[in-house]
Amino acid sequence: MSDISKNLQQQIVSACEEKRALRIAGGNSKTFYGNTVVGEAINISGHRGIINYAATELVITARSGTPLQEIKAALAEHRQMLAFEPPQFSDSATIGGTVACNFSGPRRAYAGAARDFVLGCNIINGKGELLSFGGEVMKNVAGYDVSRLMAGAMGTLGVITEVSIKVLPVPEIEITLAFECSARKALDDMHRWSRLPLPISASCYDGDRLFMRLSASENAVDAARKQMGGEKVAAAKDYWKKIREQQHAFFNSDKPLWRLSVASNAPPMHIDGKCLYEWGGALRWLESDESATEIRKQARAAHGHAILFRDMEGTANGEKFHPLSLGLQRIHKNLKTAFDPAGILNPGKMYPEL
């Protein structure tokens, strides 16, 4: 437990005065993600500790450097959880980094993303001002929703120092059903079931089989299982962990790993390589040597975008995220200026001009 926000603030104030770029670092579990930042490290991992957790209020507030593990453990004691099921990728992952990257796991399509659960944030903007937005209540429409804007901004608008997150009860019971089928059939089934009031909490097609997780009371899960059929998976918890943490055999490859966020019912893409489907078809992991231009073209045609998630060779620096339209680029640059006029916070982490 320690509060180093004054220290962090001081570092940012001097960097701003001297126009020195800062590279924001937490647990270093996600350094592979995004473009490389050249700058002096500002380390958040010392700023840690759970500040408030009231299980009956369904909210936890923690300093941003608090390890995700510590938060999950505190919640588990009260049979609660982070419903967006974030990946860790390493034991050192922090809650601040998780929110900054808006990383969400298998439950995302059914419960919401990290951004959906953010209730409030304290940040230090690029001028070194410590600001507080949102709060610990579920409903709050006072002022612009800066807290949610921080989710996924990768620190380019401000360093998150504290975050309040809505939490949910752990479901009474979870089972996973498996179905052998083609990708086309898997997409059809996921869509057919998602239109029915079934307690689905995760879905994944890994190339051979479709896995559907059900979470609810025991009788509800039983009833849904009868309706859906399939074969009950024995080590289901481990399966979803491997999907979430990218430890599943699919991810064991040297090829560039692309993350495609597309219309869920887009047909399987015609790209050389392997594809794993999550989130009812809306998230597709692609391992392929195909050109960025082609992959982005197909993602766009499927009403979505493509991120180069892991790039073993590191040749695509500066171009990992999907290009923005000119109009959006202008708004993004204006927002960057609004929060970080000197351009010192994680410059280039998302886009070269931010």
Binding site: A55, T56, E57, L58, H78, N102, R108, A113, R115, D116, N125, L130, L131, F133, G135, E136, V137, M138, K139, N140, V141, A142, G143, Y144, D145, V146, R148, L149, G152, P169, V170, E172, S194, R195, L196, P197, L198, P199, S217, N219, A220, L260, S261, V262, A263, S264, N265, A282, G304, H305, F321, G327, I331, H332, L335, T337, A338, F339, M350, Y351
Partner: protein
């Protein structure tokens, strides 16, 4: 406010120009034609706009914005005008841009569970059309029969099912926006997230300050197989509040969880005869939904919890008719209070739920101090409190006293860690309380965000975010613990 107020607009020239953009019948400028637009749902604030326009095409809206941008004319966008915070209050020197004619449901994609709609589509109309696919749109503000989806996005509207199903921000996927320059932007995407910053979140609840929404893609959910309502009576509001925590601690997230206090119960009962226990200090309405099996087990569990929490009576609706009746009392709470008082003023604070007994006690003593009765209706699940202050606008000074009392309630919400507005927005109404909720640096950050979208400050000027000068003036009246708020500002 900026220099805009003193900027003289040539009304005749403006009308002529607007009539070039759209048919003359879509440009209202006579006093009697403008009258229906002088206020929104908060009728205590009124102002006539210079002109009201009712465009029918995207190109017309675009042309209006381009013209206003070029000539520095303020623009206030308006949906159905049901907002409760004066967010659509016209600007005396500006154009009121009504989006009422954008009322088409463009497409429902049942497979992807989304609906593409124009901003003037009524909230309830989406669910009515989606019903044939077994789907519905979850956020259900009480005004859902009349309010439009564009306004819902602008205000980030909630409703009684927020705890489980979220607010508007959780239930939309894509927006098409026109900037003040008339540039068309597509925000969000066809997938569950999009490239770049989460502008979808930033724009939701931005109260028409950042752009004009011209299309919304909402997410739809499968209609739950079954919903059931339990009514519990308590002889003490604190016990009712604690019972809510007990239900949630048991791992159950009800679809709706509403509380009413004695005065609200009595008013509702006299009005709709919902069968509420008339001598209860508080009642809880707990709606459980989901699969048939799950609802059965949760109903049994919740009944048990409520009894242990000290409920004096627990009833489960026997059939759909009784369920509707239980809800009718709650849904009619506002008009019911309207029957027992010439006027009422609805507040919209949120608080951490555990603060409920303290907050209700303080409101009761303020009620004595101001000599104005208060009925409390509470979205108990998510901490959103709607105290209704009963007053008579015809009595001199009573509206002013009511507003001051209301302001005190909101400041109390902030003091206990809550917010001045849960779902109605800041608009014109709570502009002073924004100075209590936020520090000068945060307000400056909001102004910088506004500037990033609207550098000339033409969209809905003067709303949602107070100027620091306004706060300095307001703060002078409310010196907290001897500290001068906004000390960095010059006094005037």
């Amino acid at each position: 406010m900026s220099t805009l107020n003193t900027h003289a607009v040539d009304k005749q020239k403006l009308i002529k120009q607007l009539q070039h953009i759209m048919p003359a019948r879509a440009v209202l400028h006579q006093r009697e034609d403008l009258r229906p637009y002088e206020c929104d749902g908060l009728s205590a604030y009124r102002e006539l706009p210079l002109v009201t326009v009712l465009p029918e095409t995207l190109e017309q809206v675009q042309a209006v914005l381009k013209y206003c941008y070029q000539h520095e004319i303020p623009v206030v966008a308006r949906g159905a005008g049901t907002g409760l915070s004066g967010g659509a209050l016209p600007h005396a020197d500006g154009v009121l841009l009504s989006l009422a004619r954008f009322s088409q449901i463009i497409d429902i994609d049942a497979e992807r569970r989304i609906a593409r709609v124009q901003p003037g589509v009524r909230n309830l109309a989406i669910s009515q059309v989606a019903e044939k696919f077994g789907l519905y749109y979850a956020p259900d503000p009480s005004s859902q029969i009349a309010c439009s989806i564009g306004g819902n996005v602008a205000e980030n509207s909630g409703g009684v099912h927020c705890l489980k199903y979220g607010l508007t921000v959780h239930n939309i996927q894509q927006l098409t926006l026109l900037t003040i320059e008339g540039e068309l932007l597509s925000i969000g995407g066809g997938g569950l997230d999009c490239a770049g910053y989460d502008l979808l979140a930033l724009l939701t609840g931005s109260e028409g300050m950042l752009g004009v929404i011209v299309e919304v893609t909402v997410k739809l959910l499968p209609i739950p197989e079954r919903a059931q309502v339990i009514l519990a009576a308590f002889d003490d509001v604190a016990k009712a509040g604690a019972a809510v925590g007990d239900i949630i601690s048991a791992g159950i997230i009800p679809a709706g969880l509403e509380m009413m206090d004695r005065l609200a119960i009595q008013a509702a009962e006299d009005f709709v005869h919902a069968g509420y226990p008339a001598n209860a200090e508080a009642i809880l309405l707990c709606e459980l939904d989901g699969t048939n099996e799950e609802v059965s087990s949760h109903v049994a569990e919740v009944r048990e919890i409520l009894k242990i929490s000290g409920a004096t009576e627990v009833r489960t609706a026997r059939d759909a008719a009784e369920r509707a009746l239980f809800w009718a009392g709650r849904k009619a709470a506002f008009p019911a209070v309207g029957r027992i008082s010439p006027d009422y003023y609805c507040m919209d604070g949120t608080i951490p739920r555990k603060q409920l007994p303290h907050v209700l006690k303080t409101i009761a003593s303020l009620s004595k101090e101001y000599d104005l009765p208060v009925a409390n209706v509470f979205h108990a699940g998510d901490g959103n409190l709607h105290p209704l202050i009963l007053y008579d606008a015809n009595k001199p000074g009573e509206l002013e006293r009511t507003e001051e009392f209301g302001g005190k309630i909101l400041e109390l919400c902030v003091e206990v860690g809550g917010s001045i507005t849960g779902e109605h927005g800041v608009g014109m109404e709570k502009i002073n309380q924004m100075c209590v909720q936020f520090k000068a640096l945060e307000l400056s950050q909001f102004h910088a965000i506004k500037h990033a979208f609207d550098e000339k400050a033409l969209l809905n000027p003067g709303k949602a975010v107070p100027t620091l000068h306004r706060c300095a003036e307001f703060g002078a009246m409310h010196v907290h613990k001897g500290e001068l708020p906004f000390p960095e500002l010059e006094r005037f």
